[in-house]
């Protein structure tokens, strides 16, 4: 990450410092560049700054997200009669908290940042685009942890599911969080207007709600395909399988791997979208 001094020397039209203008001596070689910010430290700095916003800006919304999911589970209790469907409802409602915060709120945040010119701040700092996108995405994914855990435990108790394997959330939250946050950031950064970013975030969350919470067997064919396209589906599936008496760990790992792959892809798209939005 050291600076690369170009082989080209300064062009001849550099004027010597004149008269009282300054104490400088005439320059012939390009000035040394300040170092770039490296990926991990700047990612950590963005993450920390974003997390500090949580107290003022995000916690009330996290409550909304959690109550929404708990409410949905209580409603669905009258519809589903235990078994696979109950597992799908609990898993879907838990991942819905992630979708609400990581997809919907992050899309809104980046949409507003882009529209208000706030991206200029980052674009004029020597920070890798990936650090800004990943730092914000990681922070938003972190906000979802308490709500997701609370929803999963409440749901397990409501539907009498075993709590034994809920530790799977340790993988489900970051991986589906990465996939959904990347999607949310990309939507926010690509939307030409902030209202559109909000709309797209809401639509994405509605899709996660309908396609994640409703048991897959009851969906008509084409809607089922849409379900397969949505990144949160694989987080939902992984979590749902972990409620089985004897979970199929191979299948769970496969679903989580799909989640991770989609996460890498969507974060890469979001990083590209950031570069595109930052320099106009």
């Amino acid at each position: 990450m050291t600076s690369i001094i170009p082989a080209r020397t300064a062009p001849s039209r550099v004027r010597p410092a004149s008269g009282p203008a300054g104490p400088a001596s005439p320059r012939t070689a390009p000035a040394p560049l300040a170092p770039r910010a490296r990926l991990l430290p700047s990612l950590a700095a963005v993450y920390r700054a974003q997390l500090s916003r949580a107290r003022v800006a995000r916690i009330p919304l996290l409550f909304v997200a959690t109550f929404q999911s708990v409410g949905i589970m209580i409603l669905m209790r009258g519809v589903v009669d235990g078994g696979a469907e109950a597992r799908a409802v609990v898993a879907g409602s838990s991942v819905l908290v992630v979708a609400f915060v990581a997809l919907n709120l992050l899309a809104q945040y980046f949409g507003q940042l882009r529209a208000s010119g706030g991206l200029d701040h980052y674009a004029t700092l020597p920070v890798p685009p990936a650090a800004v996108v990943l730092g914000a995405a990681a922070a938003y994914a972190s906000f979802t942890v308490p709500g997701t855990v609370f929803t999963a435990i409440t749901g397990s108790v409501l539907f009498q599911l075993p709590l034994t394997h809920l530790w799977v959330l340790v993988a489900v939250v970051p991986l589906s969080g990465a996939a959904l946050a990347g999607l949310g950031a990309a939507l926010g950064l690509l939307a030409p207007r902030p209202e559109l970013a909000t709309l797209l975030g809401q639509l994405g969350m509605s899709a996660a709600l309908l396609l994640g919470v409703l048991p897959a067997e009851r969906l008509p064919g084409p809607v089922g395909w849409a379900r397969d396209l949505l990144p949160s589906t694989y987080g939902v599936e992984a979590l749902a399988r972990s409620f089985d008496a004897r979970p199929d760990w191979g299948l769970i790992a496969f679903f989580l791997a799909v989640c991770a792959a989609v996460g890498v892809l969507s974060l890469a798209v979001a990083t590209w979208a950031y570069r595109r939005a930052a320099v106009r």
């Binding site: 550099v14 700095a45 500090s52 916003r53």
Partner: protein, 327 residues
Amino acid sequence: MCAVRDLVKTYPATRGRRGAPAAPEIRATDSISLDVERGEIFGLLGPNGAGKSTLVRQLTGLMRPDSGSVEVLGHDLVRHPERASRLIGYLGQESTALDELTVALAAETTGRLRGLPVREARAERDAVLEELGLTALAGRPLKKLSGGQRRLACFAAALVGERPVLVLDEPTTGMDPVARRAVWAAVDRRRAERGATVLLVTHNVIEAETVLDRVAVLERGRVIACDTPAGLKEQVAGEVRVELVWRERAPLDVPEVAALRPSAQESGRRWVLRLGPDEARAAVAAVTGGAAFAALDDFTLATPSLEDVYLALGGDAADATKGLVKA
């Protein structure tokens, strides 16, 4: 040190939509050429829409020019816009990226994103907040501060992680005199101690006269003059600025007053005239004696300011009174 040659940026015409009328193509910067020397405080002065911000956005790599070259400290920033952030500390007009952070965290995070290790970022943060008198506000979120304080906090963030060039887009907007003084003291210190170069966007003529070494006057995307404030004022040195404020309306029945009217720039009860010394003396004698004096509320005589220079250079009078601030 900073050389701009033939910079052109054209915003394309937009088609009208519901609620938004069609806009014709706009040349925001129209072959601008400038040279800024090292250690200089160089100003860009002009009314709103003159192209000042578009110009600095091109200097800071935020916007690609359609044509022309920008060279800062030997680096071609049109070809390598990503180098701008490693040479230039930029204070833009927007604070939205920092609004929800505390003052201390905004400064520290910005320093870290300028590549400083944690410890150095914190040390510089503390030093800059102390220097600008922000220590007492360090724990407050920017959103909760007044406009001027928020601007000062953003300025603090721009200073953490030192750069040889500072580009400040209207840094003192909304600030009280104490905060303004802190800003200019900090700028001066960086120039005196470290040879920093400062490029300043302003539409405040008084500020421009007092802090700038040289100033480029922009209008409609062109540089219409570039010199020291004193040098610019020499162009209208032979003139005196006469301001007359009438109680209710100008007594046009007095022939001397009626004769002054064609050369006056009127805004409500206030007339501004730029006259030769003899004419000025005659005008003052006419309005302070006889019938006109009863209608006169106040008058001032002054040497010309940069605003008069701007008007004398052919700047649009209507734009000038709206766009330039005199406080």
